[in-house]
């Protein structure tokens, strides 16, 4: 049940109706049942996995609180982390490790391969679980008494599949001090859902066709212009795909009275890679900062250690995205750029500097080559094509070029005027007119019989 399918909208309407028609004490049960149903629509068997992880982390947090000694507290924390990383490691990284080990000792890559299905959203909900247990261990979060509350935090359907990774304190603040969204929040929620749909279906899926065609067979599109067309198409696809999903998730949660944090802040207008990571997948980058970079020492141990920590954090961040050397290299590439910027003393500038923005965008796009290409060999081949003659041709049709320009204009306008958040405050005819134009775009370009899955669902 993907967010951009009619089945999901029917499901959501039923959930909202039941949620608001029920007495308040029952509402969390409705949300939990709906969330489990949503998860089981993908694969019913794996609900046991999410329930098991929920139980382990719930118990671990309670144990940490009750434990008399530091060693027991640590044991509870380690148990929880081992369970989360164990499940994540097995489902996501087993085949990667097994194939590399096999190759190391001269066995075929698939000698120990298993047919493993990656459980939906496991990377996201394990990170969410771990942050909760670590926060309890650090004394920054009270352990949750009611297991239903905790289960809802882990499985809440708007963010279950691909985030944003919500911190426990924010979620439970909304759950325990729940207040119905006022009219402005409702309007914002609907606007986020509609605009998220436009981002995904009108922009991302259109550019996905171009990117898929290029990455499937780069040799069929000779020339650096064609190579840049394919790579930039993927840059556009992945941003609009993921931020479209996030907007929808935040909007859906808003309509249920939960306020999720911002996850993207126009990352392609960043003036450096450091700035880029302050704007891209914010909930992951702050998670990595708080639970990996800072515990590794952050920038407290001198320049070299800072560079090492940046590199390690980004390498692991890359590996979090997927079990392949390409993701590791992608993470390492960004870690290297972050370290280089720090070494050069490049600070993000508050005002837009077109040259720096362009350079950052180009660097981020080059990184996406590793993210999107199937193999390391394919990545290197595409990188070679990006910088070698002949020129070839742009593969974008004119109207997709216009979509890209329109998107850029809207992003710049948002950067300067914050029109996006202000839309619900505008007169009714403006708000309704904008929604109507979005619906028309969806009608003409968006809705197809075969929905394209969200890119980040595979993580």
């Amino acid at each position: 049940m993907l967010f951009h399918t009619p089945q999901f909208f029917l499901f959501f309407v039923v959930v909202v109706a039941l949620f608001y028609a029920s007495p308040r004490p029952f509402r969390k049960y409705i949300l939990l049942a709906a969330s489990y149903f949503f998860y089981m629509c993908w694969n019913a068997k794996f609900i046991l996995l999410i329930m098991a992880l929920t139980a382990i982390d719930y118990a671990a947090a309670r144990w940490i609180r009750r434990a008399a000694t530091g060693a027991r507290r640590k044991a509870a924390l380690v148990t929880s982390l081992a369970a989360n990383l164990g499940f994540l490691g097995f489902f996501k990284y087993y085949n990667f490790l097994a194939s590399n080990l096999g190759l190391l000792i001269g066995k075929p890559a698939d000698a120990w391969a298993l047919a493993i299905i990656l459980p939906m959203g496991i990377s996201f909900h394990t990170f969410q679980s771990m942050s909760y247990v670590i926060d309890v261990y650090r004394g920054q979060q009270e352990p949750i008494v009611n297991v239903v509350d905790y289960a809802l935090y882990i499985a809440f359907f708007p963010q279950l599949v691909a985030g944003p990774i919500v911190r426990a304190r924010n979620f439970f603040r909304d759950l325990y001090d729940w207040r119905a969204p006022d009219a402005a929040e409702q309007l914002l929620g609907v606007w986020l859902v509609v605009f998220g749909l436009v981002k995904k279906l009108v922009v991302a899926d259109q550019f996905a066709r171009l990117a898929d065609a290029y990455f499937a067979n780069p040799a069929a599109y000779p020339g650096w212009l064609a190579a840049w067309s394919g790579v930039l198409a993927f840059s556009i696809q992945i941003f609009f795909d993921f931020s479209g999903y996030t907007d929808m998730a935040i909007g859906l949660a808003h309509l249920l009275g939960f306020r999720f944090p911002e996850n993207f802040r126009r990352p392609y207008l960043a003036s450096s890679i450091t700035d880029f990571w302050r704007r891209w997948h914010i909930s992951l980058s702050t998670w990595l900062r708080d639970y990996l970079y800072i515990p590794l020492g952050g920038n407290r141990g001198g320049r070299l250690k800072t560079y090492r920590n940046l590199l390690l954090t980004m390498l692991l961040g890359g590996l979090w995205h997927g079990a392949s050397w390409n993701f590791v290299i992608w993470g390492g590439y960004h870690g290297g750029l972050l370290a280089a910027e720090r070494a050069l003393g490049l600070e993000p500038k508050p005002s837009l500097n077109p040259l720096r923005v362009l350079l950052t965008f180009a660097l981020a796009s080059i990184g996406w080559v590793f993210f999107r290409a199937r193999t390391l060999h394919a990545s290197l081949e595409i990188l070679w094509r990006l910088f070698h003659a002949p020129a070839g041709h742009l593969t974008w049709p004119h109207w997709q070029l216009w979509i890209a320009f329109a998107s850029l204009a809207l992003a710049v306008a948002e950067e300067r005027f914050q029109w996006f958040e202000r839309l619900p405050e505008t007169p009714a005819w403006v708000y309704s007119g904008v929604i109507a134009v979005c619906l028309l775009c969806l009608e003409l370009i968006g809705f197809t019989d075969r929905p394209v899955p969200f890119v980040y669902f595979q993580f």
Binding site: D182, H398, W399, A428, Y431, S432, A436, L439, L440, T448
Partner: protein
């Protein structure tokens, strides 16, 4: 802000959206549909017919599908003799449901034609191909459907998913033309040029096309053994198609097919009730070899419809003489020679069925009785010439 803001604004957005959709797609977009698309192809026939200069009141229009072997250029060589001009909007793959909406489009005033020729493959209600829930009709008809068709058109499907799809096609034109619109955006100039060319030349191409020159001479069917011997020139695909069509089991007479015909052919007849236009039912030449021994059904929907005012039922054996292998290019379609022979015969028969040209247009006033009602024309015209079977 009040709590009503959300429903109010969403309602307003929906109104704006429908207005934008209508503005974009109900104000002329259909004239630039891709001519090679399903909808564009049908639209091309409609456009040609609307823009065809009329040479007088004795226009006769043929509706139907690809089996209508009418070559109007051949038929109209006989106009000086018959007094009637024949035209066609017979589009391959269309069904009676499509014919109704096409007629509504080309003849909004119901005063353009002396007669409309409605073909049947059989006068019995044997449904060789299911048509009531045919999704393809949605693609054909998207340009012709109006908001007022929402209920009647959608409910003409029997399955709910198709009804929903039909309702969507009526309501949201943008969605119906989504692929066409995207293709237009991608190649705007080429499309506009192509459309201009088709508007200029389309009628010429339709009316002067040359059909299959092969024929099926030598075909032999052993109905008892359910075997067919196809001429050597036919390739494997043609051979398979001929076998599939000729040897397919005869379906039973179904009430649902009768209901479908009553609904859509009936709608055509009723549309022209009280006008000068006669609706002529005739049976097409069935194929290079006709399956023997199928009983006639005296209570079939076609015969019921023929009793309605304005309808004429032509003897179903009128074109039996054309059911010869040398006149067919495949199991269902007349070849070039067959088309020429059929068109000549049809032109002459139209004269016979309708009477001398010119009378049809003046009959209108004479036909009204003192109460102002129009008597059943088919009975008056047909009775002496075409006894009902």
């Amino acid at each position: 802000m009040t709590r009503l803001q959300l429903p109010l604004r969403l309602g307003l957005a929906l109104v704006f959206f429908l207005a934008l959709d209508s503005l974009a797609f109900r104000t002329g977009y259909t004239s630039i549909l891709e001519p090679n698309s399903t909808a564009g192809y049908l639209q091309q026939f409609v456009w040609n017919e609307i823009h065809r200069p009329l040479t007088g009141p004795n226009q006769v229009l043929a509706v139907g599908d690809s089996r209508v072997g009418l070559k109007t250029r051949v038929a109209n060589l006989l106009t000086p003799e018959t007094g009637y001009t024949l035209a066609t909007i017979a589009v391959p793959g269309t069904t009676p449901r499509c014919w109704y909406y096409m007629l509504r489009e080309v003849d909004p005033g119901r005063d353009r034609y002396a007669a409309i020729l409605v073909p049947f493959d059989t006068y019995n209600d044997r449904e060789f191909e299911p048509v009531a829930d045919r999704e393809m009709d949605l693609r054909y008809l998207a340009p012709l459907l109006r908001l007022s068709d929402l209920w009647s058109f959608s409910m003409s499907y029997t399955e709910w998913p198709l009804r929903a799809l039909a309702a969507r096609t009526v309501l949201l034109k943008g969605m119906a033309f989504q692929q066409d619109f995207q293709a237009y955006l991608a190649h705007r100039h080429a499309r506009e040029e192509n459309v201009r060319l088709v508007h200029r030349m389309g009628a010429f191409w339709i009316y002067n096309s040359v059909w299959e020159r092969h024929n099926l001479e030598g075909i032999e069917v052993d109905w008892a053994a359910n075997r067919v011997r196809v001429p050597d020139w036919a390739d494997a695909a043609r051979r398979r198609e001929i076998e599939e069509v000729l040897l397919r089991p005869v379906p039973p007479i179904t009430p649902s097919y009768a209901a479908y015909r009553l609904r859509w052919i009936g709608a055509i007849v009723d549309r022209y009730r009280g006008t000068r236009t006669r609706i002529v039912f005739y049976r097409l030449p069935r194929g290079p070899v006709a399956r023997p021994g199928l009983p006639e059904d005296a209570a079939s929907s076609v015969r019921q419809l023929a009793r309605r005012p304005g309808a004429m039922l032509i003897d179903e054996h009128t074109f039996d003489s054309l059911e010869r292998p040398e006149l067919f290019g495949d199991a269902m379609h007349l070849n070039e020679a067959g088309g020429i022979e059929f068109s000549r015969a049809l032109a002459q028969l139209v004269r016979k069925w309708l009477g001398p040209a010119g009378i049809a247009s003046t009959v209108r006033d004479e036909r009204k009785d003192v109460s102002g009602r129009v008597p059943t024309r088919h009975a008056r015209v047909r009775a002496p010439q075409e006894p009902a079977r």
